[in-house]
Symmetry: C2
Amino acid sequence: MKPAEVLISEVGPRDGLQSVKATMPTADKLRWIDALVAAGLREIEVGSFVPPKLLPQMADAAEVVRHALTHPGVTIMALVPNLRGAEAALRSGVHKITIPCSASEAHSLANVRKSRQEMVEEVRAIVRLRNDIAPGVKIEAGLSTAFGCTLQGIVSDDDVVWMAEQVVGAGADEAGLSDTTGMANPAQVRRLFHKVRAAIGDKTGAAHMHNTRGLGLANCLAAYDVGVRTFDSSLGGLGGCPYAPGASGNVVTEDLVFMFEAMGIATGVDIDMLIAARAPLQAGLPGEPLYGMTPLAGLPKGWV
Amino acid sequence: MKPAEVLISEVGPRDGLQSVKATMPTADKLRWIDALVAAGLREIEVGSFVPPKLLPQMADAAEVVRHALTHPGVTIMALVPNLRGAEAALRSGVHKITIPCSASEAHSLANVRKSRQEMVEEVRAIVRLRNDIAPGVKIEAGLSTAFGCTLQGIVSDDDVVWMAEQVVGAGADEAGLSDTTGMANPAQVRRLFHKVRAAIGDKTGAAHMHNTRGLGLANCLAAYDVGVRTFDSSLGGLGGCPYAPGASGNVVTEDLVFMFEAMGIATGVDIDMLIAARAPLQAGLPGEPLYGMTPLAGLPKGWV
């Protein structure tokens, strides 16, 4: 197998499970994560460190991390919204944490009850803690609503670039761009990644695209075209029917991997085993709708 | 409204209706076409001229064309598989005919029971007839299975270029590339349109992409990137669940128009009216599943 040329960062066990009503039993989560690893995924966001009262789906985050860490060579990530969550995550042994930092002030206040400037200070405090207790752990700031906001509408490029500079200035190792609301388009993706890279260079992180209006893969292609090499996605497109049934949230890992592999861009992921990983996901969330076209159509004749 | 920079060629009333089992009553077809025109579509493939025994859904093609022609400024197209169909189409008054010409020999024999060379001769005969009885009508050859074939597997670029040269040599005004089987990927789309344009120049026609494995819009973006400006698509993604329910065939017009408009590329199409055109489609095909994410999600906040 060719060495991977892009990194597919699977966010289903966090972003996906956090967005559905049902809580997946821990044993099913572990089986699902094992299947994702077996398919060749090398970075998995396995949980959120948040109060169980707010997100009971994530109450077992430390246990899930502990199991996930038994897989050598896989980067285990967790989301943390604040310093308290960061401390729990860092003590759990994760390799990387991701902090949601809204580019939209309105979304920041609604999502984490902090202004953007306060969130930058939170990043700074988390970096300090990381330096003290777990210096090997990477810190990513995920710039939410980078492409538009359902509360304030348009988010200016300048606001996104400013926020990228702020979080990197506060010590984050990288800043990714998240299309939280499914408002991105390919021209904007190219333009904004260019601008962010001009500002923070190789600290520019992943493209986290949604498929809300069907543009998820086109936006990933656009990001690839301008040099992005890490892409967040979710098996079965789990996570977020923010508007209506059928309007899936996250980009579907199966279709994303198919796109890159078909283009001759190695992902390190085996599509058949990736599709097989839908079974433990579905077993843990009976009746939950899964998305993705490649699993329905199968691989084309002549595929090698 | 900015003048259109891309042409969205709506194929639902032909490609879509031909692929579903139910037959839409003629009156519903006409209402649907009126709604498509009202939304701003300027090219519509309204039917196939084929024996009604083979495709009863298309038995009213001449009547549908007659009505469609009452809309000034709209290019009315029909598909014809052979000389006999072409004669009926040309006498119906259409502005443009499209002839499916497979790049794959296996598909050609299965689809039209002719070899590719025999199909080239059919194009030549149709061109001759057109010159005699309807010299103003444009003739497009749609190169089916240009990106792969479910029968023979891989279709070589050379075969596609050869077929493009043959049909243009036989007098076709343009040759488009069709991803009949949903096997195209963006790298291949860019490469193949480059090669075909190098061979036949500005006789290179539309990109007809399918969404079978979710790559429809990414492939349209790739085609746009290399200069393609005409895109076939189908309202509600109607047409072709060639593999399984949910695995839609044609690119969804609503999502395609949203992508271009969001990128600032004018289509001339009003998205709200386009979404409204789903109502007469659904009324004429009760219970038929429609696809498309933009109609579910709606337009983003701040959209102008």
